[in-house]
């Protein structure tokens, strides 16, 4: 669990970021599989229907589970209802934040924006700052010093990993960020990716959220009950485990400082319940290669390009079986990573672009 001095400077204001800019890793041209324009147009097409259906199920289920949980509040019977409610609040909101932030969930813009705002509140991510940080994540995916969304830095902090399954550190930092933004302060790191013109909106939204949380806490105090917080805020902790579990698989244990998503991203086949919660983000190589393809078309995109991609992990369990040992090795050797093998049908990696990659371990 010990963290030691790293060769990598993950600060967006640090040396690694400057090196990435100087060497052309930042804002680089990334590899993508050739897909005929006609096919890509079909895949990119937007539709409201799948997202309206899924949003109705998501929010409707939450209302129902919250209602039943509240009815049984005070008895052990309420627990399974709130556990399920928590996953829909604290994990499904992550994928809704993500997809709606891209603008690809719905065809109708205001629907994307509405669900985006709701999801951002639940997952505790300021809709302005996180839209911009995610933009940077897509420009410079797992480029050290450029990507603000690297989930597991090297060497991995295993205690932090475990704590985040309960949302503890993320929620703590989110609250700090919210209070800071509500005070009118945009941090130096935030300023590296949030344009000045957008910063007042970030501040305004933080203030609205602060009022909501203060009102929730006040309700809890007035009622002498945890229930208001179990409904608003705390699910971000007790329901976080699913989005952390699936999120770690996106890039965990894979290469950094490369410009081929086949090397730094992972596609994992998942069960239909997880895919509903995760909105098909298990097709993660596909999503990074073609972020304009909406979630409901990712399985078709996968079928079309899988010949050019590493073989997906067959399950979440399989993904963790390879990823966790990689994390443990990275504790001792931060340059270790899992190199994704390509099938014979794939175009090879351009090794000359990745000359600095450390050799894989056995």
């Amino acid at each position: 669990m010990t963290t030691q001095a790293s060769n990598r400077d993950y600060s967006l204001l640090g040396e690694s970021g400057r090196t990435a800019v100087e060497t052309g890793l930042a804002a680089a041209e990334w590899y993508h599989t050739d897909v005929p324009r006609k096919d890509m147009k079909a895949l990119m097409q937007r539709s409201d229907t799948p997202a309206i259906r899924d949003t109705a199920i998501w929010l409707g289920s939450m209302l129902a589970l919250a209602a039943v949980g509240t009815y049984f509040w005070g008895s052990w019977i309420c627990i399974p209802f709130f556990l399920a409610y928590g996953v829909l609040y604290g994990s499904a909101s992550d994928s809704r934040w993500h997809e709606c932030g891209h603008g690809t969930a719905f065809k109708t813009r205001w629907m994307n924006d509405a669900v985006y705002q709701i999801a951002c509140f639940m997952i505790m991510r300021n809709p302005v700052t996180w839209r911009w940080s995610h933009t940077r994540h897509h420009t410079d995916t797992v480029i050290v010093g450029r990507d603000p969304e690297i989930a597991v830095m090297r060497p991995p902090d295993l205690l932090r990993l475990v704590l985040n399954f309960f949302g503890l550190l993320d929620a703590y930092h989110a609250m700090i960020d919210m209070v800071r933004n509500a005070a009118g302060i945009i941090s130096a790191e935030e300023k590296t990716f949030v344009p000045e013109s957008e910063q007042p909106r970030a501040i305004r939204i933080a203030r609205i959220w602060l009022v909501i949380y203060i009102a929730t806490i006040a309700s809890a105090l007035a009622l002498g009950s945890w229930l208001p917080l179990v409904l608003i805020g705390l699910p971000r902790l007790y329901g976080a485990w699913h989005h952390v579990m699936t999120g770690l698989l996106q890039h965990g244990g894979l290469a950094d400082n490369v410009i081929d998503h086949r090397l730094n991203s992972r596609t994992v086949y998942m069960n239909p319940i997880s895919r509903f919660i995760y909105w098909n983000m298990n097709y993660h190589v596909e999503h990074h290669m073609f972020p304009m393809v909406p979630y409901h078309a990712l399985p078709q995109l996968h079928a079309m390009i899988k010949h050019d991609l590493p073989t997906p992990n067959p399950s979440i369990w399989s993904g963790f079986l390879e990823m966790v040992p990689a994390f443990l090795r990275q504790v001792r050797n931060e340059d270790y990573f899992l190199k994704r093998e390509l099938p014979p049908t794939a175009r090879p990696y351009r090794e000359e672009f990745h000359a600095e990659l450390a050799p894989t371990a056995q």
């Binding site: 690809t104 897509h138 420009t139 344009p195 013109s197 304009m292």
Partner: protein
């Protein structure tokens, strides 16, 4: 306004509600055909991070950048919201004898 009309392609080379890339004299452009079969042209790179808009999605009168989903009106060049903040430059387009021309 320049009178330098440059031939881009045949009308039918661009599908309705679609876009193509056109490179000329070291510059790159995006040429669009709207759902009602009118033609438009803009600079070819997104003003956010220099990605070719011709790889993006045309929806009605909007072009969406394929990298970060930034949106512009391809008719006016107006940036429609984050992450795009700077408008696109537009160029006059005409169709003559079945060919599309832009003035650059």
């Amino acid at each position: 306004m320049s009178d330098n009309w440059v031939e881009v392609c045949a009308e039918d080379d661009i599908d309705e509600e679609d876009v193509i890339r056109f490179d000329h004299a070291g510059r790159t452009f995006a040429v669009y055909r709207s759902p009602d079969a009118a033609f438009f042209a803009t600079d070819g790179l997104c003003t956010h991070e220099k990605i070719h808009l011709a790889d993006g999605l045309v929806m009605d009168d909007i072009i969406e950048c394929p990298k970060h989903n930034g949106r512009f009106s391809y008719k006016t060049g107006e940036a429609m919201g984050a992450p795009v903040c700077v408008n696109l430059k537009t160029y006059p387009v005409k169709v003559e004898d079945g060919s599309v021309f832009i003035s650059i």
